[in-house]
């Protein structure tokens, strides 16, 4: 069992799961600072949870812009995100349970 993931990491993974995204998309979706997003991307890439792919040069050339690097979730990454979300859910359920318990006692 890996250590629990930070909010930022989960947000980045979620952004990548929801669409084929390049850096700016992820910055926009997560609202995180660019510096944090790109270092997170690199870390996740090295961990093998996401995969960065350079887009087809023809597409970029047609739009006369530099090539973008798009990110997708690997199966490992998908699994890690699912686990992390499950843990989060458990934790919040637990909290709710505790809250209702203390509500009864009080």
């Amino acid at each position: 069992m890996g250590r629990s993931l930070g909010d930022g990491t989960i947000a980045v993974l979620n952004a990548i799961r929801s669409r084929l995204a390049y850096g700016l998309d992820i910055v926009a979706d997560t609202g995180m600072l660019p510096g944090t997003v790109y270092t997170t991307l690199r870390r996740l890439e090295r961990r093998g949870w996401i995969e960065g792919r350079w887009e087809d040069p023809a597409v970029a050339e047609a739009e006369r812009r530099p090539r973008r690097r798009y990110y997708t979730l690997t199966s490992e990454g998908r699994e890690a995100l699912d686990q992390a979300e499950a843990r989060l859910e458990e934790a919040s359920l637990g909290e709710a349970a505790r809250a209702s318990a203390s509500g009864r006692s009080g």
């Binding site: 660019p34 350079w54 050339e61």
Partner: protein, 906 residues
């Protein structure tokens, strides 16, 4: 393969340069990918037109990511080793480290603090949703010999505009004026916006309580007068009372009902209002004709671009409309030489005062130049250290240390210094930003010509954008300072370096030919020359401004203004009688040596009109009409103010309502009206409603007063007797025996007694007014001089260090020369000559730079040209003297080199 099409603006170019600098941090094997990815993102941002804070945060992110890649790529161990090693070496020369960190802290701190002010005052967006779609429609008026100037709209013309322009919707008029709130005998002057109801949806604001004005309330007016109150006025004056909506207030002596309260922070289109009334209210408050007279121009107009419309489309429509104005609304004879047109500018542009903006940017430019000098200075210091340590480096390389490791080590040292300096600098900025913001706000005031003011000095703070700027600056400075020393180290040949312990490093400390350090020094001299020239231009301009003779005695003069409302007049307060009563009571006060009524210099109230005819030429053709500035004044006006009477007499007590109307002209007016001379006794006619078109006889000619800030051109002035031409508003000018501020309470009580509903406003000593009027040039001068002096200090230290170092390195060569018969003077000449040559090269470059910079400061100068030889020559001479001294000190040491001693050491 077509290359990407990059926008060619400076923001994009600067951003790409920043990315390249940040990329230096990334290990070579990861660099290409890193660069491609960031460039693709930058391309996207710039093509979406994104700049400002978002771009800064983005670029700071690139530096952050670059540093992270460095740490990851080379391994944390190697990274922290490098940092520790740097800290240790810096610790071994604490003097160097402290000087370097201090220089960086000062320059990064100053740049950051300035940036935080500039981003609020110049870069920040107006506080409305989708502000780029809001435009101001200017009425442009051109005189017979003047360029079109943005002017105000009249209601009928605005109404016509609204009916025809399709590319702008929700057109709304706005005017900021002051009105008196006076329930419970507690009169307070509040800033009021007179508006079209559509201004609220236009600015995207909904009421916090109650409602805003309905369209029907704009011009027809309902059964009762209505008003909206700002959140701050509600809290301040009405204590947040729950029942304010629906309550009736007394505004300008009339009853108005509060129908709504606006949300906190909303201060209207102008950014200063506390109360709003619809245009219809002006019928009651001022006069009914304000909504019918097409030539009574008094307000500005803004609107929101319609769906799909562009500024260009709106501009074309406005121009087309503007071309028809003169035909649709034929001017009265008085204004027939004017040409009217209309055009559109964005709100962002409309709200800036070009003068304040230019001053602010010139100052920011000065700070950045100073930063440039600091960087070059530090690079020079690091380069020198690099040369000293070349032997150590050579040993490390020959023992197998990789060259890249060496490079990283040097870059780390520079970055460590930059980070320390940057952190200290941000701290300094954080401490100083409040003071700086308040100070600059007072001096630079950002309001544009259309009464729009959103800059709030208390909002200036070190926020995320400012931090991003500081990170970017720190990263850039770190890379820039380290790149040259690193390159030098990379070139180092271990076998060469190890051969001769004393003669190492080609290009290090030579007297013939030029090396990297000389280039750095020359560059600093060049930039310092630009700064010094700018500073001396500012100083000369300020001296000129302060040397302007105001034409009157400003000493111990208290000034104030008051204005009656039409309601006061209807209630029986006769302005003509009140003014004279107030004056007589004030003249009788102890401590008052003289008092008069009239226009307060640098304050107002100001009236201008035209002269329609004169003796012998009863009906001037419209082409001959002359604009004059008029003011009704009390008897003895010139005597009280100390204005020199050239001919004839002052306005006197006997110039009363039942005697012949008289006027005193200033020389400019006399020359223009009566070019044949001898104006005394001649008559002329004014086209001024306050004078009923009647004629006046000239009884005196004076030199005139400087009524506007120095630097503004003098106007033709006409003084009338206030007993013959009373206005609702007047200025009070009181000469005190002692400190004029001591008179304030008694003067207030005089007016409070005679007219309880009329508040005394703008109470200030004349001295304080003059100080405020020249605040902007003074602040700009003080700051540019400060940065000029600091840069001179840096250049002197850099030059001294460089030459002293060269002398130390070349002791053997100098000794050899001495032993071969070179006399001491020749040695001194060799050393000093080198310093002077480097300086001269820098000065030549600096002159080019000053020529380039001239156009940025021209608008800020008074009485001096931006290409001023004296300023250039003076600054160059200063630099040469500094260079001579800085070179002479080490040169003396060169003279004293003992050949035997020098040759023995090795």
């Amino acid at each position: 393969m077509t290359s990407p099409s990059w926008p060619s603006d400076w923001r994009t170019r600067a951003s790409r340069a920043a990315l390249r600098a940040a990329g230096i941090l990334v290990p070579p094997w990861a660099r290409d990918d890193w660069r491609s990815e960031w460039e693709a993102e930058l391309w996207q941002l710039r093509n979406e037109g994104i700049g400002g804070g978002t771009l800064l945060v983005f670029l700071a992110g690139a530096f952050w990511h670059g540093a992270w890649e460095w740490k990851e790529g080379w391994g944390m161990g190697s990274f922290s080793q490098d940092v520790k090693f740097s800290l240790r070496t810096l610790g071994r020369s604490p003097g160097f480290a402290a000087a370097a960190v201090l220089i960086l802290a000062l320059s990064i701190g100053a740049s950051t603090a300035f940036f935080s002010v500039i981003q609020k005052a110049v870069l920040d967006e107006p506080p409305f949703p989708d502000p780029d779609r809001i435009v101001v429609v200017d009425m442009l008026i051109a005189g017979p010999d003047t360029e079109p100037q943005p002017s105000e709209w009249s209601y009928p013309r605005f109404d016509a505009l609204r009916g025809e322009v399709r590319s702008i919707e929700r057109l709304a008029g706005y005017q900021l004026r002051t009105m008196t709130l006076s329930e419970h005998d507690d009169p307070e002057v509040v800033p009021v916006e007179v508006v079209s109801p559509s201004i609220f949806p236009l600015l995207g604001v909904s009421p916090a309580r109650g409602r805003v004005f309905g369209p029907e309330e704009e011009d027809r007016g309902a059964a009762e007068m209505v008003a909206l109150v700002s959140h701050s006025l509600w809290q301040r004056r009405f204590g947040g009372a729950d029942d304010l909506v629906g309550r009736t207030l007394t505004l300008e002596g009339l009853s108005v009902r509060v129908v709504g309260i606006l949300p906190p922070g909303f201060e209207g289109a102008t950014g200063r209002a506390e109360l709003w009334v619809p245009f219809a209210s002006l019928r009651e408050i001022q006069e009914p004709s304000l909504l019918e007279d097409p030539w009574n121009q008094y307000f500005h107009v803004m609107g929101r671009l319609s769906e799909g419309a562009t500024v260009e489309m709106a501009s074309a429509e406005a121009q087309a409309f503007g071309a028809t104005i003169m035909d649709r609304f034929p001017p009265p004879v008085a204004a027939s030489r004017l040409r009217a047109s209309a055009d559109v500018v964005t709100l962002r542009e409309a709200r800036q005062n070009p003068g304040a903006r230019a001053s602010m940017l010139a100052l920011f430019g000065a700070v950045l130049l100073f930063l440039l000098i600091a960087v070059a200075n530090l690079a020079g210091l690091l380069l020198a250290r690099g040369t000293v340590r070349q032997q150590e480096a050579a040993i490390r390389v020959s023992l197998g240390a990789g060259r890249s490791r060496l490079l990283r080590q040097i870059l780390t040292e520079s970055l460590v210094l930059a980070v320390l300096g940057g952190a200290l600098g941000v701290g300094l900025a954080w401490l100083g930003v409040d003071t700086l913001g308040g100070w600059l706000a007072e001096a630079l005031g950002t309001a544009g010509g259309r009464g729009l003011e959103y800059f709030d000095p208390s909002s200036v703070a070190v926020d995320l954008r400012v931090l991003a700027f500081a990170v970017l600056l720190t990263g850039g400075v770190g890379v820039a300072c380290g790149i040259l020393p690193a390159w030098q180290a990379a070139r180092c040949d271990p076998s060469e370096s190890l051969k001769g312990a004393r003669v190492v490093g080609r290009g290090a400390g030579r007297f013939h030919g030029f090396g990297g350090r000389d280039l750095l020094i020359g560059g600093q001299v060049a930039v310092a020359l630009v700064l010094l020239t700018g500073a001396s231009l500012m100083i000369r301009s300020l001296v000129n401004l302060q040397g302007v003779d105001p034409g009157y005695d400003t000493d111990r003069l208290l000034t104030a203004m008051y204005a009656l409302s039409p309601a006061d007049e209807q209630a029986g307060l006769e302005p003509g009688i009140l003014h004279v009563d107030v004056l007589e009571e004030i003249r009788a006060l102890p401590g008052v040596t003289g008092a008069t009524l009239g226009e307060v210099p640098l304050g107002g109230p100001t009236w201008r009109t035209i002269v329609m005819g004169s003796e012998g030429r009863p009906e001037l053709t419209p082409q001959e009409h002359l604009w004059v500035r008029i003011q009704p004044v009390a008897d003895g006006h010139m005597g009280v103010l100390g204005v020199e009477i050239v001919e004839g007499r002052d306005i006197e007590r006997t110039d009363d309502w039942d005697t012949e109307r008289v006027a005193v002209l200033n020389r400019a007016a006399a020359d223009a009206l009566f070019p044949d001379g001898n104006p005394i006794g001649q008559r002329f006619r004014l086209g001024w409603s306050g004078y009923g078109g009647a004629g006046a006889t000239v009884v005196g000619v004076v030199e005139g007063l400087q009524l506007d800030p120095p630097g503004e051109p003098p106007e033709r002035q006409v003084f009338l007797s206030i007993r013959q031409a009373p206005q609702l508003q007047t200025g009070l000018l009181i000469r005190a025996a002692g400190d004029p501020s001591d008179l304030v309470p008694t003067v207030r009580s005089v007016l409070a007694e005679l007219a309880p509903s009329v508040p005394l406003t703008s109470v200030m000593t004349m001295e304080a007014r003059s100080v405020t009027a020249t605040a902007r040039p003074r602040v700009v001068t003080v700051l540019t001089t400060l940065f000029g002096a600091l840069s001179l200090l840096l250049v002197a230290a850099g030059l001294y260090g460089s030459i002293a170092y060269a002398v130390a390195r070349r002791t053997r060569e100098l000794g050899l020369r001495a032993s071969l018969g070179a006399n001491q003077l020749a040695l001194l000449g060799l050393v000093v000559g080198h310093g002077v040559t480097v300086t001269a090269g820098g000065i030549a470059l600096g002159i080019l730079g000053s020529i380039g910079a001239a156009r940025f400061v021209q608008g800020l100068l008074f009485g001096v040209q931006s290409m001023d030889l004296a300023a250039l020559a003076g600054s160059a001479a200063t630099l040469v003297v500094v260079a001579l001294v800085a070179a002479y000190l080490p040169g003396r040491r060169a003279m004293r080199v003992d050949p035997m001693e020098a040759l023995r050491t090795d």
